[in-house]
Symmetry: C2
Subunit: 205 residues, 2 copies
């Protein structure tokens, strides 16, 4: 009796395999942005990627599996973080980055689709959590620096502050249909800064 090999694509990841993955992920992103998560069709994606339908099913298995892979791919491309001298400006930069991402037609639709997928599939949810963890981790230092500078109380949880900036933007994005503009982004940053200064995110030492 022989052991079945690991998942397809792991033994010979070079050349064609990599090209197929890239083409399929791109096609999946396009399809998602255009038609949304619910109307996603693996056969259509295979056609767009000029790849056999069988291949897509074999490598990713299901729509949610594909979305999860797309997400880990997105997490790997990290954006450079700006670095001003003030907490509020750093948070505003972060807020505007999120705002621009969600407002962008392609990226916005993609995020909607990914979040939708995560609600009904554990693997996708896991990938999504890691994605945001990475992003939050990336921006946390600017809060830590504000603590060092004495702008924020000792023991302030940097992760919570960063999450507080994104939260209202995502909430608006998902539950109300309102357009996200720069003023909204700035207000999100200001709210987070105000709450942080008031010591809301300071753990009791």
């Amino acid at each position: 009796m022989e052991y079945e090999g690991a998942d397809p694509g792991t033994v010979r990841p070079g050349g064609r395999t990599a090209r197929v993955r890239a083409a399929v992920l791109r096609a999946a992103g396009d399809a998602m942005a255009e038609r949304g998560f619910a109307h996603l069709d693996l056969a259509d994606i295979a056609r767009r990627a000029e790849v056999g339908k069988t291949t897509v099913y074999r490598r990713w298995g299901s729509v949610t599996g594909l979305v999860a892979d797309l997400l880990t791919d997105m997490a790997e491309q990290s954006l450079p973080r700006t670095e001003t001298g003030s907490l509020l400006d750093d948070l505003k930069a972060n807020a505007r980055l999120v705002q621009r991402t969600l407002t962008d037609p392609r990226q916005g639709a993609l995020f909607k689709a990914v979040i939708a997928a995560a609600t009904s599939d554990a693997r996708t949810a896991e990938a999504l959590h890691r994605f945001y963890e990475t992003r939050v981790e990336e921006w946390a230092p600017c809060v830590q620096q504000a603590v060092v500078r004495g702008e924020l109380p000792e023991g302030t949880d940097p992760h919570e502050v960063i999450r507080a900036v994104s939260a209202p933007l995502y909430y608006r994005f998902l539950t109300t249909g309102d357009h996200l503009d720069e003023a909204t982004a700035d207000r999100a940053a200001e709210a987070a800064a105000a709450a942080a200064r008031a010591g809301v995110y300071a753990r009791p030492a």
Copy 2:
């Protein structure tokens, strides 16, 4: 040539029609809570509701149509709002209500499913927006009273404050897998209150 009648269920809404609607909505809620939005199957829902599969397709057409109806049904059952004398306590009551709702296994799964459905269907999105508009409208007065009492600056936008309470809870609920506890709810209320007091939600007069 005759005009086709309106949607089925509108001409004779009493008796059986109402029973069918109630049974199907209940079954849909159960199925959603158990299996999530992506795995939703109208045939299964019909079976649970002990109703003909044809009826479900004829009345609601698609999964998203059913979810939209479920949502308007939920919006109609409004919960009584508590009324303490302080802004922070009112906001905490609101935050805990949201926290309990999202934490509840059935309700939480239901909200996840509904939000997922709204990301890929305009009609469901519309219903979702109305749902949250209703809820926010319901709680806005307690912020307005705080303005009158002088706790908050003139021109504070009550809706924004209420949304600011929910936002971090939903953000956490959807993007991180963390458990929502009462401390988290209280912190959300405190953050919103702090930002409001700082004048972040005050429109420039």
